[in-house]
Structure formats: C-alpha cells, structure tokens
Symmetry: C2
Subunit: 259 residues, 2 copies
C-alpha cells in the first residue's frame, strides 16, 4: 500500500482554497498510485480559528464531505481528513476516511482535546477510535494529541491496525511529538504511524511541519521539513521487518499478577 | 537529587572484578555527591552467561548483597543493581535498590523476560514493579525489556514515580530502545528515565552502550557513548519543566467510554 501525506500551510485561508489544495494533492497522489491521502486536523475550516468552528461546522454528509467524496472518486484515491462536525447539538473535532470510490470507511471524534481553545470549541469524543480496511491493510484513526498517549495507539494495535493515520495541528515548540512519540508509537506496537501536520502560520500560531510516516523500526519512511510538502511512501508488509528491529512484541506483554 | 550511572564493559569477567568496579564507581559518585548509582542488569554474575545464572545465583541477603550494602554505607551512596536471585526453587532476573546506609529500599523481579536465553535461565516475575523514595524523590524500578512496553512505566507514573531506574543489557542493533523508547517513556509520563547498559562484548554478544538519563522533555540530561563511562546528572524538580515541553499529561487521559 502506498500512502500519501499532505503538509499544507496553515495560512491557506478559505475552505475553498483548502478544497482546491486537496484536489491537487489527490491528483498528485493518483499519479504516484497512492491508495490514500492523509491531510491535517481540522483542515476544514482550519485549526486556529475558534470563531469559525461553530459557525462553519457541517453535518456528516454535508457539502464538504460531498465535495471531497467526489474528488476521491474522480482520482480513485482514498482520503483521511480532519474537519469540524456539527452533530447532536455540539461541535466535534472529527476525522473521516473516504475510500477511493468516495464511500465513507471510518469516522472519529477526537477523544483527547488539547488546550483551552479546543476545549471551548469542541465537545470531546467518547467512542473508540475506528479500525477500517483500505487496499487490503487494516488501519486505525486518531487525531493529534491522541497519539501522545500510548493507550490509544495500543488499543488500535490490539484490534489489528497495521497503520495509524493521524491528522494533526502541532504547533512549533512541540517537535518532541514527531521526533520521539510518533516513531515510538510505531516501534512499540510494531506498526506504521503517519502524522500529517501543518506548516506556516495561522493568525499568530506557528506550526512546526515535520510530518512523518514512521515504520515499525521507528525509522521514517518519509518525512517533510518545515514547508509545504507532499510525501509518499510504500508501506512494506510488517513481516518485512526483522524481529530485532521492532520493539516490544505485544504478544509478550505480561501485567503484574499474570501467571 | 543527583543520579550517577555506570556503563561497564560486559567483558568484565568475574563477580569480584564487577564488585570492585562498583566500589570504584560508588567512590566517584560520592565525590560528585550523587545520591544513587545505577548499574546494568545482571551485573552479578553477568548477562550472557546462562551457565552461571543457576550455579552462581544467590538468595536475598547473600554475600553479594552484604558486600554491596557495606560499600553503599561506606560511600554514603545508594545503589540500584541487577543480579541473579535464587528463591522459591527458581532463579530470577532481579534488581535491588540499597539506600546510602546499605538498607534495602526496593526489590523487583523482571516481568518481561526477553528471548530464549532469559526464558531458559529465569522464571518471570509476577509482582508489580516497586516504588520507593530516595533523597526525597519517588522512584520506580524496571529491568531492560520492561521499559519497551508503555504499560509498565505508566503503572509506575500513576503510582507517583518521578524517575524510573532501568538496569539493562541491550545488545548492539537494538539502539532504537535508548534512542526512541526510553526518552518517549520519560516524555509521555513527564518523568525521568535512567537506562544503564553495558558496552563491549561478552562471549560474542556485543552491547551498544548508549546509557542515558532522559528528562520529561525527552532530552538527555546525560548520555554515554559506546565505551565504559560514569555519567552523573542532577534531576531538576519536575515543576522546572514548562508544560509545553512535556507531552501528554496523565491527568488528561480519557479512554473510550469516559464521560
């Protein structure tokens, strides 16, 4: 399975511009025969715009999803994207995965809201992160701060996820996440973790870029710098990684009191 | 609290030579006013010597412990060390912490045995890793492979450990542990993790060195290269680390189904 990841400038202003950028990236991903394109958290309508989260949030199946599903179908590439969802009288920091025919494969509401802005804008999700299949591989979905907690990635690995897709909006100054924690999650679970961040500045908030697709040995299969980038990597079969390159085997885990 | 860590050559042959090396390191640690010295896994009688594990293993309070307790007392420095313990009709991959007066502060039997040699030599521990206090700081104790599983460090952090001491014997080729997983454990729990490895070669098995004392921001307070080394670092108060330098706050953790 080939995975594409779009690191987009957070300064990209309107939802229309962002939809255009996704379409261009889907076309490029299709040209490289990627099965899926991963883009950042709250791509629609944007991350650092609390004034817009409630006013622009859309329901599932709304205009954003319809437009993106059509793009995915036209290019024959799946899409995982973050967006502001209106549902159940609340606004959620959500992520959705569309298959290459535009059909919804997974939907998730961020469980670990980060900081005051997010807690003011969004209600925290309570459901388990989803596991879905694309291009014959089982994948899981988390959002940003979720990946910093080992429990959530572990939960997905236990349910058979071979790769975790993580739309994120990680500001500059928090680079320990992409440098240490994302590859550690991959390594400790023996899976792939793809972390799609913004670069650039949105209303005074700088983003660190550094999007990465980390492998089960903790090494980057592909990584972006601090500017806009589309990165693409083939995810080898997990069996291609020698056992000693992977860390703690989940099957080995013993907890105190285990016989 | 000042912490010292001894990276010793695995080629150091006899238990007597190893006891001498610990005494020299305790003297050096005392001169730097360290509260505690951490040394590798199975320092006594050695790691890659399965023929000796059963024949040389000692009970708690045996000659090794008596000798080390006397050294700790003479130098006024605590000691955390790995050793082969005979008890309950079995041999255990154990670690013990002695206080600066030679009194036993903690004892632990490795829960995550690694590989065929260890599983043949030792019975796996079933008890929870201990938390103890030294120099006014709460510390936890794990051994080697244990630290690769996020669950064990998390369990200690939940019980108030500010620092986790990890005697280890990590062969060359597994450097992702000290490079990624040890600092990730520190970062994701907002604590210190000290990982004391061997260097050199013991009966054909090469050790990678790279012992490290990692801080809550994931950065090394001190690190060794690939040769013998004594490293010493002051562990600042956890409150000295700005919140944004530390990763996921344990207090923030929400699991699926949490309200």
């Amino acid at each position: 399975m080939k995975l594409a990841l779009l690191q987009i400038s957070a300064a990209t202003a309107s939802a229309e511009e962002r939809l255009d950028a996704v379409e261009a990236a889907l076309a490029a991903a299709a040209a490289q025969e990627a099965a899926l394109l991963l883009v950042p958290e709250l791509l629609l309508p944007g991350y650092n715009c609390p004034d817009l989260h409630a006013t622009l949030a859309e329901p599932a199946g709304g205009p954003w999803q319809l437009a993106l599903a059509e793009m995915a179908r036209v290019h024959g590439v799946g899409l995982a994207y973050g967006w502001a969802e209106r549902a159940e009288g609340a606004v959620w920091n959500a992520a959705t995965v569309l298959g290459p025919e535009g059909v919804q494969l997974a939907h998730y509401r961020k469980i670990q809201l980060f900081g005051e802005m997010e807690r003011a804008s969004f209600r925290a999700g309570t459901g388990a992160p989803p596991v879905f299949e694309i291009a014959g591989r089982r994948c899981g979905l988390l959002i940003c701060y979720d990946i910093e907690f080992p429990e959530h990635a572990r939960g997905l690995a236990r349910r058979g996820a071979e790769a975790i897709l993580v739309p994120t909006a990680n500001p500059a100054g928090f680079e320990h996440v992409q440098r240490l924690l994302v590859p550690a999650r991959a390594c400790e679970n023996g899976i792939f973790v793809a972390y799609a961040n913004y670069c650039g500045t949105d209303r005074g908030l700088d983003f660190g870029g550094g999007s990465v697709i980390a492998g089960p040995d903790g090494a980057a299969l592909a990584a972006a710098g601090t500017g806009p980038a589309l990165i693409v990597a083939e995810l080898p079969e997990l069996s291609a990684y020698p056992a000693e390159a992977v860390s703690a085997q989940l099957a080995d885990l013993r907890l105190p009191g285990d016989g």
